[in-house]
């Protein structure tokens, strides 16, 4: 297991260097395994594309102790059953006032709006990670024909429900927030509810399909 230290109270478990489904499956398995253990030593776990970050409690454990414990559990981790991913269909209004950057995307990719929509709705995407704000799913892998750069200067405010694309990823903004992705549409689906569990509609590993509304 590739364990490295991150500051005084962080431990990273790295599974790879590129974004791919195999690495993602390992991150996901690791996350659900650790979560189910309910170790009091662990304050928080952040799974992402290639690594799991563990924020540990230095009053209860140390980097060395935790690293040892994790190494001992490596075999158990490999054989753990992970939950079935949730599947979500997200209705989107594409283009026009709903997709501020649709005309840029069409021009950049050399496609018509209908083509962009049909490519974006064709794929069954995987949630690689959820963050940087609550409930924001990083979805992949986006068809290479829609590969667009991020905005040079991020917008201060991207409207709630915006569906964006950036390089080989697509995502949904659950809240009005700053953001640098190219916006092609808008959904009314609720992605985050702070009042009741499950707080986030999506979690790591879920599958998502966009439907043109």
């Amino acid at each position: 297991m590739n364990l490295t230290r991150y500051g005084e109270n962080g431990l990273r478990i790295k599974f790879g260097d590129t974004i791919n489904i195999g690495t993602h499956e390992e991150v996901r398995r690791c996350y659900f395994f650790l979560k189910a253990l309910h170790l009091p030593d662990i304050i928080d776990i952040t799974p992402a594309f290639t690594a799991c970050l563990i924020h540990f409690d230095t009053r209860k454990t140390s980097y060395t102790k935790l690293a040892e414990l994790l190494s001992e559990m490596e075999t158990d981790m490999a054989s753990v059953a992970v939950p079935e991913p949730g599947v979500h269909e997200i209705a989107v209004r594409y283009g026009g006032v709903h997709g501020l950057d649709m005309s840029f995307v069409c021009a950049h990719c050399g496609l018509t709006e209908d083509e962009v929509v049909s490519i974006h709705t064709a794929e069954l995407y995987t949630v690689f990670t959820v963050g940087f704000i609550p409930g924001f799913p990083y979805l992949g892998v986006l068809d290479r024909r829609l590969n667009c750069p991020r905005l040079e200067t991020p917008r201060v405010r991207v409207p709630k429900g915006s569906v964006g694309i950036a390089q080989r990823q697509t995502g949904i903004y659950p809240f009005q927030s700053p953001g640098g992705w190219k916006i092609i549409g808008q959904t009314e689906a609720g992605l985050f509810n702070d009042k009741k569990e499950p707080y986030s509609l999506m979690q790591i590993g879920d599958k998502v399909r966009f439907i043109k509304e």
């Binding site: 304050i43 952040t46 594309f49 704000i133 609550p134």
Partner: protein
């Protein structure tokens, strides 16, 4: 002026992107609660700027910690870092902030504010927790139940940190420290060689931007990473080489992580205000652990951590 309900932080939901949104000076926040006889995990108010006026409709005990302020209860000046009693109908007036940036107010009793995912702290961006997920504005009322008069407590002067610029922040190496040239790392972090940085106006509760001599990427390295989890206090370096110190509002990030502010110095981040000077200094992990242990030992009797 800006007033928020905060606490020690919202933990356990990082996997769905929920950040800690903790009080930026966690020691001051916990100390304010200790002074009023509350649990360290209780909510408190975090305030930037003078001009805060609070009218009390109940009798309670109150305390102000964090930034050094000049404050009056009716016409009597109150001592910061010390419990004071408030009678029904009294008005507290914070006239001036003398040193530091953020100050904390605690009231004996239970503040009737929103507890979301185990924490009272406000996630301002998403609008949940604390006072309806928002900053307080004139005319808002917070109910306090089970308020009572606490014993008078005092945080001894020797435990009150210095908040005057220039601020020295000790840091430890981050996961991508090797992405940068040796010379520019020395110029940013090495004792006696390091440059001075200035806190930019463009700083907020998510991150503190510093401006100064940019850090130089080694030839051929990527200037960003595949997004990964970030720890509070991480110093990220975007493409322009200017450092951003991440606070408690993001769970993952795609910028390179050159260093992490030591835990012993993280509370000081609450007091970095625009145009303050900052010196960064690299220390070993062992040194960082020792500093944190020392800080906790020193403060253990006030039960804050």
């Amino acid at each position: 002026m800006h007033t928020l309900v905060v606490d020690q932080g919202r933990y356990g939901q990082s996997a769905i992107g929920v950040p800690p949104s903790a009080a930026l000076d966690r020691f001051a926040c916990a100390a304010a609660n200790w002074l009023t006889g509350n649990d360290a995990s209780s909510p408190a108010l975090e305030v930037i700027g003078s001009g805060l006026v609070l009218r009390f409709d109940i009798e309670t005990a109150c305390a102000i910690t964090g930034a050094k302020v000049k404050a009056f209860l009716d016409d009597r000046e109150v001592k910061p870092w010390t419990t004071f009693m408030v009678s029904k109908g009294a008005t507290l007036n914070v006239m001036e902030v003398l040193e530091g940036f953020r100050y904390y107010l605690s009231f004996s009793g239970i503040m009737a504010v929103d507890k979301v995912m185990g924490s009272y702290t406000t996630n301002l961006e998403c609008g949940f927790g604390g006072y309806r997920g928002q900053a307080l504005v004139a005319g808002d009322r917070i109910e306090i139940t089970e308020s009572g008069l606490a014993d008078i407590r005092i945080v001894p002067q020797k435990y009150i940190p210095r908040m005057h610029p220039p601020h020295k922040l000790r840091v430890v190496e981050g996961p991508e420290a090797h992405y940068f040239s040796e010379d520019s790392l020395k110029a940013m972090f090495q004792k006696h060689l390091q440059n001075l940085y200035t806190v930019s106006n463009n700083s907020n509760r998510t991150g503190i931007r510093l401006t100064g001599e940019p850090l130089v990427f080694r030839e051929g390295v990527e200037k960003s990473i595949i997004s990964e989890g970030i720890m509070p206090g991480t110093i990220q370096i975007p493409g322009d080489g200017q450092p951003i110190i991440m606070l408690y509002e993001r769970t993952i990030g795609g910028y390179t992580r050159v260093a992490i502010v030591t835990r012993a110095d993280q509370d000081l981040l609450a007091h970095l205000k625009p145009s303050d000077d900052v010196i960064l200094e690299m220390v070993s992990l062992e040194e960082a652990e020792r500093l944190w242990f020392e800080k906790r030992e020193k403060l253990s009797h006030i039960d804050a951590f």
